[in-house]
């Protein structure tokens, strides 16, 4: 074959004249993006991504079909090329419903690959499942028990009958893995010699420590409490998260080589500056341990205690004197933990004072249900007007009766007092569970937000101090759920690792093509009820802190995991379209307009086709014609209406198809899927 000299991006290359520029570039390690090209097939030129500039040529050339001429000077990157590629991608995306990731994963703050681990659980591969989970969550047995699971809330199975029991399946897999003979052990990089100090041993701190340790850094976690775990240990009651489960997961991290130092309060036992001086990077992940105020008369009385403090006491093994009658103020999960813990501490009458109704309460509904089962009395639409004391001690609480008024900016209806309507209930203790705040003592040099939290970069977790990062409840918007803190810690670990390696880091939320669905889309999906979780009965659980749930049997867990609809695109990991879309930072919504309807049809012998994902690259059509020598598929219609046909269901066609599945194999966007019968 004739060899000729061409120049690509300033490099002189000897190329075979029979090969396209795309092939020549690829052979020389120069990637030219493309979606409709396949080495085995004739060039087609539909996607227009492979455009390059040739010196002297007015138009951009499609590299897939341009053959070299001696002395040709080619550029594969330039502003003009970038613009043309971005334009093509934006157009493709405007008519592509990729359904890249399932709503479970998209709604998980840590973007855990839920579909991936559910699949492994359904197959009984628990260690493999844990490996997938631990890409994002190093404490799955703990988190799986306590997470308010936005994944489940958004699970599309709810349009069929009920969402999957995702959170608990995670805990199930982790329990199985931890108790197995060969639990999953992550790979650890070679030591880097860099020291990272993590202040705070809660979910955020432990998560960051785990990933930083795996990256080869020397990590020390400092914590002011006697044991590690943070709010997971001192905020969550034993009956929801047994300490031994948490301890197992913490020792796993410790065994990887993370140093853990307890009973060290910043500013008291050790100064922040000292930690900084001895570290290459610092992560502040101390959480939000200061309680919010009720803001009524009598708050200073003895017998008024914060929920955080109360739970910490109990979780430290003490049983505080709370008397027989207890009022818990608040409607969140801390309030639920407090009221149910109060019952377990021997209180006979426990009232939850909440100014809105059950529907608005931020607590999990199942938590409210379980509290009611255990005998807690809910006083919705009431608000403490005054805490009445006697001899400096709480005697009663005067409640203002409320009603719901206009909706506020968050869309929730605002509670307003009903004038002159009050009620007084006799109580011995008032537990205020309204809000948590970061305590800035000891962190004087760190810049705070107007809310009093640490100001940390949204895309890099950086604080105002060089080499100091922050994540979790102590930062920005303040306290939230554990999985949020874990997600931030994931980001912080990446940012710190990049910082220590002197690599610029600026995270941007990747773009995913999303699909919206409704019940109608699942009208034909067979109904499989959600596996019932067994609980200890309310009477049995009242007097002790034993775990309330009894868990799934292995059979149940597998069955439950199999209910997964596998919403996320099966081709996501190999999808060049989404990769390019994110590389180029396109604006996928720019050219929004009519889209092809996304629906799956199972017609050709063993192929399922989704029109919404098809980008008309014609690889399937050409493969069927040129490779499989069948020519069953073809384009029908014109303009935007063009689709790939023929109707698979026609027996004359399906008979002709020899079921080689080559069409599905070449599909770059997951529009064709081989289905298992």
């Amino acid at each position: 074959m004739e060899k000729i000299k061409i120049t690509i991006n300033g490099r002189e290359i000897f190329a075979e004249s029979e090969k396209s520029l795309l092939e020549i570039a690829a052979e020389n390690g120069i990637e030219i993006p493309n979606l409709c090209y396949n080495k085995k097939l004739k060039p087609f030129g539909a996607c227009g991504l492979c455009v390059v500039e040739a010196k002297g040529a007015q138009k951009l050339l499609r590299a897939c079909s341009t053959f070299p001429k001696d002395g040709m000077v080619i550029k594969t990157e330039s502003e003009r090329i970038k613009k043309a590629r971005k334009f093509a991608l934006e157009l493709i995306m405007s008519d592509h419903t990729g359904d890249c990731k399932g709503p479970c994963s998209l709604n998980c703050p840590a973007h855990t690959d839920v579909q991936g681990y559910l699949k492994q659980i359904s197959l009984g591969n628990y260690s493999k499942a844990v490996e997938i989970i631990k890409e994002k969550i190093p404490l799955p047995a703990s988190v799986g028990r306590i997470c308010p699971h936005p994944c489940e809330t958004n699970c599309r199975r709810k349009f069929v009958e009920e969402p999957l029991s995702i959170a608990y399946l995670k805990a199930f897999a982790a329990d199985k893995d931890l108790s197995s003979n060969a639990p999953f052990v992550p790979k650890k990089a070679e030591p880097t010699g860099k020291k990272v100090s993590v202040i705070g041993g809660g979910p955020a701190g432990l998560t960051a420590a785990y990933y930083l340790c795996l990256s080869g850094h020397e990590v020390t976690v400092f914590d002011s409490m006697p044991e590690m775990g943070g709010m997971l240990r001192y905020g969550i009651p034993e009956y929801r998260l047994p300490k031994k489960v948490l301890e197992k997961e913490i020792s796993f991290i410790k065994n990887l080589g993370v140093l853990m130092k307890n009973n060290l309060s910043i500013g008291k036992d050790i100064s922040f500056d000292e930690i900084r001086k001895n570290s290459d990077a610092v992560l502040i992940a101390v959480g939000a341990w200061k309680a919010g105020k009720i803001g009524c008369v009598g708050e200073e009385l003895s017998g008024v205690i914060s929920g955080i403090e109360f739970l910490r006491e109990v979780n430290s093994g003490k049983i505080p004197e709370i008397g027989k009658n207890v009022a818990v103020v608040g409607g969140g999960n801390t309030a639920m933990d407090a009221c149910r813990t109060a019952i377990r501490c021997g209180a006979e009458n426990v009232y939850v004072i909440y100014r809105r109704t059950r529907a608005e309460a931020p607590a999990e509904d199942s938590e409210i249900e379980e509290a009611i089962e255990e005998g807690v009395t809910f006083r919705f639409l009431t608000n403490p007007a005054e805490i009445i004391g006697e001899n400096g001690k709480v005697k009663a609480v005067k409640l203002q009766i409320m009603e719901l008024g206009e909706a506020d900016s968050s869309g929730r209806r605002k509670p307003v007092p009903v004038e002159g309507k009050f009620e007084t209930i006799a109580v011995d203790t008032v537990i205020s569970a309204i809000g948590q705040k970061f305590d800035a003592v000891g962190f004087d040099s760190v810049e705070l937000t107007s809310r009093g939290t640490i100001s940390a970069g949204k895309n890099d977790c950086r604080t105002n101090l060089e080499g100091v990062f922050a994540a979790g409840d102590s930062t920005n918007k303040g306290a939230s759920i554990a999985i949020e803190a874990i997600a931030e810690a994931n980001l912080a670990a990446k940012a710190i690792d990049a910082y220590l390696s002197d690599i610029p880091f600026d995270f941007f939320e990747p773009y995913y093509s999303k699909k919206s669905v409704s019940e109608k889309d699942f009208s034909e999906t067979p109904k499989i009820p959600r596996e019932k979780m067994t609980f200890r009965n309310p009477e049995e659980r009242k007097g002790n802190f034993d775990e309330v749930i009894l868990g799934f049997t292995e059979e149940q867990a597998k069955k439950e995991a199999k209910r997964c609809l596998e919403c996320g695109c099966h081709d996501f990991k190999d999808c060049r379209l989404i990769r390019y879309a994110n590389l180029r930072q396109i604006e996928p919504e720019k050219f929004k307009g009519e889209k092809h309807r996304a629906f799956s049809e199972r017609k050709l012998v063993s192929i399922e086709r989704d029109q919404g994902k098809c980008i008309l690259c014609n690889l399937c059509v050409r493969t069927c014609g040129e490779e499989a020598k069948k020519g069953i598929l073809g384009l029908v219609g014109r303009g935007f209406e063009t689709v790939i046909k023929p109707e698979f269901i026609d027996p004359a066609v399906t008979d002709f198809c020899r079921n080689c599945k080559k069409c599905a194999e070449v599909c770059p966007t997951g529009a064709l899927k081989i289905f298992e019968k």
């Binding site: 087609f44 227009g48 613009k83 334009f87 405007s94 384009l635």
Partner: protein
Amino acid sequence: MKIVIGEGSCGIAAGALKVHKAIENALGDDCKIKIGKTGCVGMCFLEPVVDIYEDKKLIRRLVKVSEKDAENIVFAAKTGDFSKIEYLEISSEDEEFLNRQTRIALRHCGTIDPTSLEEYKASGGYKAIEKVVLKMTPEEVIEEIKTSGLCGRGGAGFPTWYKWNAARQSKMEGKKYLICNADEGDPGAFMDRAIIESDPHCLIEGMLIGAYAIGASEMIVYVRAEYPLAIKRLENAIKQAEKAGILGENIFGSDFSCRMKIKAGAGAFVCGEETALIESLEGKRGMPRLKPPFPAQRGYFGEPSNINNVETFANVAWIIENGGAKFAELGTENSKGTKVFALTGKVKRSGLVEVPMGKTLREVIFEIGGGIRGGKDIKAVQLGGPSGGCIPKKLLDTVIDYKALSETGAIMGSGGMVVMDESACMVGMAKFFLDFTAAESCGKCVQCRIGTKRMQEILTKITKGEGEEGDIELLEELCEGVKEGALCGLGQTAPNPVLTTLKYFRKEYEEHIFEHRCGAKECSAMLRYEINPEKCRGCTICAKNCPAKAISGEVKKAHVIDKNLCIKCGACSKVCRFGAVEIF
């Protein structure tokens, strides 16, 4: 004396066949007076046209003839007394339509019988091919075409000699093809159809010369199936030529052999693009191929092929006969010879117009077309159909020249020339063409398939009064991207109607978007119909004709339109005899 009826498709549509029959009946068996037919002379606005010849000389041209005029025509022909048909004679003003043209491609249109080989030969036909095969080398033919400066008349305007030469050089042995693109798809364009219907032998001769030049042994005419008469007349001409030894083996006794066939296309606009045309010829879906390889290298079934448009071929025999230099005398520095236009729209005289390059648009529209009908002012002229653009009134002195027209943002195109008066909405105009290209895109490349769709959606939005700030910029971005990235000429030129209207009529877009107003009152969604109570006489005719029952009022009292019910169809305004329905 001979009575000749113009029987092109348009003449037939206007009743030419009935006129023919009526004249035949009126003649009875008088054999002194002959009756004949011819093709289309190009005066659409005067069809049916009947010509009376004496000694092969045109002595009377009768226009807008109907069956009932037959007796009078026959009487005049028999007696030589034309007084009874004076009312049918073409006015001297309308004669200007033809007098001001220079006809080369259309030289036989409307003057000879397209079904008669003899008539074609009698008018000098097939002399050029005879000369070519007997006395010229292919190189000499190409040289002559080069001297003439003839460029492709299908739209792109590529030098014909260059393409021929490339195909000639491509390979010396083996099969080559010469293909005629008669897939005339631009809305409003009918030059090619008229040529084939009126002078099919001229196409055969032009093609034969081309085939000889490049060394092709087979010729294919790709013609739209929607042109049945053209196909029929061309089939007939091919048979006649074969019989006469003009097509087939050893043409005129030379060693040049060439056959010809017709392929009817199913009507996809994109098949006018040469590589898509080849795909379609091969029996595949009409989609453009990637270039290179160009058809001259690898075309029909992989063999070197040359494709030219009908009008291009129609010039070839004339050039050989009269010399390339004579052809090159006509026109401008960059553009030689003549160009045929299908002049339509709001002009007084519409039809086929052939003028030398270098004439101004104003001359064509006002001197040949007679200016605007209905007393309004001209606003713009659209050239080149869906691939072309709108040229505003202020640029009417632009000359017909490939380069000069391109500089305005429009293109010479295949010859569509639509004249618009003040009542035309330019956004609506752009939308009309984008509706067309979006629907006709073959769907292969992303830029054209989705890009034209998005442009069409935005234009639809704007004409509905739902435009938003940023729409113009988005349109511009789409135009630029589609132009840059589309695979074939169809896509690359699809943004032109939008780009030119944005360039010259941006204010109209802004009016639509920001003031929700269509100045031309064409975008019905933005109109408001009201009855002026001063003018309304209460005749109730509007209420009776309103399909939405939106008009109410008592007899002899002013009526009112319910805005919520009004569907803005304009029926009331059309039926009102007092001009009481006002449109805002």
